[in-house]
């Protein structure tokens, strides 16, 4: 008997799609890929794919905020980006902090992409990892956001530990009280020189 995984679902539905470079299922809170199939062995391209996941997560969050300002139950639909040679298609799983991303050549048929994305959304949904506790995931999302956008990303965790006065291990595990979460939010905003961050704090 074959055990179905998210990767096998992705593999099943991308088979035979011309011009596909990579497909991934990522997490909106931090951009991390939970399943990925890429037709590349190049380290640079691997890093670019990671950045693409981060970019998609930011884009979905920004679009969701815009949609929700119109109506609280609205979510972002298909998001498209790319260059003259490449195309990125992103679609979030409904009512879930996960998304599907396809990176293809710009010649790839959009309808074919759309059908395969829909199939992954349907077959992949039961296989998505469980959503973490809100406080934990917010803390991790804040740290992950800082690592993406602050200078010297390799030392962001140390800097945040020093700025907040909180132990580095606790910060990285994300097990913080509401008060500590507010301190962390302020520290990340300060590190980036921003008043607000695109990460919602738990109510």
């Amino acid at each position: 008997m074959t055990i179905r995984t998210l990767v096998s679902v992705v593999e099943q539905h991308i088979a035979g799609l011309p011009g596909l470079i990579a497909a991934l299922v990522g997490r909106v809170t931090d951009g991390v890929a939970v399943a990925r199939v890429a037709y590349t062995n190049d380290v640079q391209e691997e890093i670019s794919l990671e950045q693409l996941g981060n970019y998609a997560a930011d884009l979905i969050q920004a679009n969701n905020r815009l949609c929700q300002s119109a109506s609280p139950d609205q979510e972002a639909d298909y998001l498209l980006a790319g260059t003259s040679g490449l195309r990125v298609v992103i679609k979030a799983f409904p009512q879930s902090p996960y998304f599907v991303l396809f990176l293809t050549r710009s010649t790839t048929d959009l309808r074919a992409i759309s059908e395969r994305v829909k199939a992954i959304l349907i077959d992949g949904k039961p296989l998505l990892p469980p959503v973490q506790d809100t406080t934990t995931s917010t803390a991790q999302a804040l740290i992950s956001y800082a690592k993406r956008y602050a200078p010297d990303p390799n030392f962001v965790a140390l800097r945040l530990s020093l700025k907040t006065g909180l132990d580095r291990n606790r910060l990285e595990k994300g097990t913080l009280s509401r008060q500590e979460l507010r301190i962390l939010y302020k520290a990340v905003a300060d590190l980036l020189g921003r008043e607000r961050l695109p990460i919602a704090m738990p109510v």
Partner: protein, 421 residues
């Protein structure tokens, strides 16, 4: 001002009016400063300003005495001249004995910050803590005594993105009690005779050539060399800020000492990576050190020959195993000279800059392949860390703990492993 530099060839130290001065770049200065100003729960900015006021007061007091300058305007002109000579920018004093306004242009910290982080981050707080302390020190030395003045940066170009900063100075009703610099600190009596290193690099020849370079602030008060903004900083400013900062951490939240130490070490890593990386890609390196480079290990020796030309003391690689490890001695390191003059014997090795610098040079040569002249930018630096398997270092002998010299060992370790010496 170059003529006033005093060179101690034996100890490989450089001083200006009795204060040890050393070269460091804007990458190091910014990283170290940010580490100290980051925690809101201690007065990091106060540590930076006060240290600048104390150390520069000693330097300016020495300068006015040595140059015999008595008149107010003459003293302020010398203070501005020294500030520019050291690479911090240009100061224009509009002051009286009660205080006044000082305009700062081409600020090392502000322009350095804008060039390094300006496109990525917005800054909301002033950055010129050193200049603020310097202005207070200049007025102290001109009109009063140490601690007579306080200063504040009211406009900072790193925040406003204009072309200048403004610092306001006021005379205090009563001088605050501050501690002057320990000057050259506790020097080594005699240089230690280390075994002759196995290398084609002639350390003394590199020293002499680099000591001859006229590295001084230009008309903007900046030292632009080797693709970085250099400063000829009083060593005791770095020493004072790093040790006071760690003392504060220990007093307020001792469990975060390790984080503070790690970040100070990292500033040393950043410094060597950018400054030495750029030096090793320069024409000067090619001309001067290039002909001595026969093996890859010579690049490490060449690096230490350069290090001991910067006023940091006598740095020498004792043993370099290609791609694997190195053992480095520092005889009369500037950190230990200060430490021993200011504190009792250290409980733990305390030459933090060197602890970061030694593995950094191995990373530059054996992880960053500097021989291939990569583009030394933040992306390259970040990737180096993401790849893992970097060199880490340890201070294995510490003069500040009673050893005759300081010694460091660096080797490649995996992410979870700790360094075995």
């Amino acid at each position: 001002m170059l003529e006033h530099l005093h060179l101690d060839r034996e100890r490989k130290l450089i001083s200006l009016f009795g204060e040890p001065v050393i070269f460091h770049c804007h990458h190091y200065n910014l990283f170290l400063q940010q580490t100290i100003e980051d925690p809101d729960w201690i007065d990091g900015v106060g540590i930076l300003r006060t240290a600048a006021q104390e150390i520069f007061y000693s330097l300016l007091y020495g300068a006015f005495k040595a140059l015999g300058v008595q008149e107010t305007q003459e003293r302020l002109a010398v203070a501005a001249q020294i500030f520019s000579f050291l690479g911090f920018g240009r100061l224009a004093f509009e002051v009286t004995p009660s205080g006044g306004e000082v305009q700062l242009t081409h600020s090392h910290y502000a322009e350095g910050w804008l060039s390094k982080y300006g496109e990525q981050v917005s800054r909301t707080r002033p950055i010129d803590h050193l200049a603020v302390g310097y202005v207070a020190a200049a007025l102290d030395a001109t009109f009063g005594e140490l601690g007579s003045y306080a200063a504040e940066e009211t406009e900072c170009m790193a925040v406003t993105r204009k072309d200048h900063c403004v610092i306001q100075a006021t005379r205090l009703p009563k001088p605050q009690s501050l501690t002057p610099s320990p000057g050259m600190g506790k020097l080594i009596e005699q240089p230690t005779q280390f075994p002759q290193p196995v290398t084609a690099v002639d350390y003394d020849a590199v020293n002499e050539a680099l000591w001859g370079l006229p590295l001084a602030g230009d008309e903007r008060g900046q030292i632009r060399a080797f693709n970085v903004l250099l400063t000829r900083m009083p060593a005791n400013y770095y020493n004072r800020i790093q040790y006071r900062f760690l003392q504060e951490l220990k007093a307020v939240q001792a469990e975060l000492m390790g984080v503070g130490e790690a970040l100070i070490r990292e500033s040393g890593h950043v410094c060597v990576f950018y400054t030495f990386g750029n030096i090793m890609e320069s024409v000067e390196w090619e001309t001067l050190v290039g002909p001595m480079l026969e093996k890859d290990t010579d690049w490490i020796h060449g690096g230490y020959a350069v290090a001991s030309s910067l006023g940091w003391g006598r740095w020498q690689a004792l043993e370099v195993v290609s791609g694997e490890s190195c053992r480095v001695a520092i005889d009369g390191n500037y950190e230990a000279n200060y430490f021993l003059a200011s504190y009792p014997r250290a409980e733990d090795p305390a030459c933090y800059f060197a602890q970061g610098a030694v593995p950094a040079l191995m990373n530059l040569v054996y992880s960053g392949n500097i021989q291939q002249k990569p583009v030394l930018d933040q992306v390259f630096y970040n990737r180096l860390f993401q790849r893992g398997g970097l060199f880490r270092g340890k201070e294995t002998k510490a003069r500040e703990q009673g050893d005759p010299w300081c010694e460091f060992y660096a080797a490649r370790v995996s992410g979870t492993e700790s360094l075995r010496v």
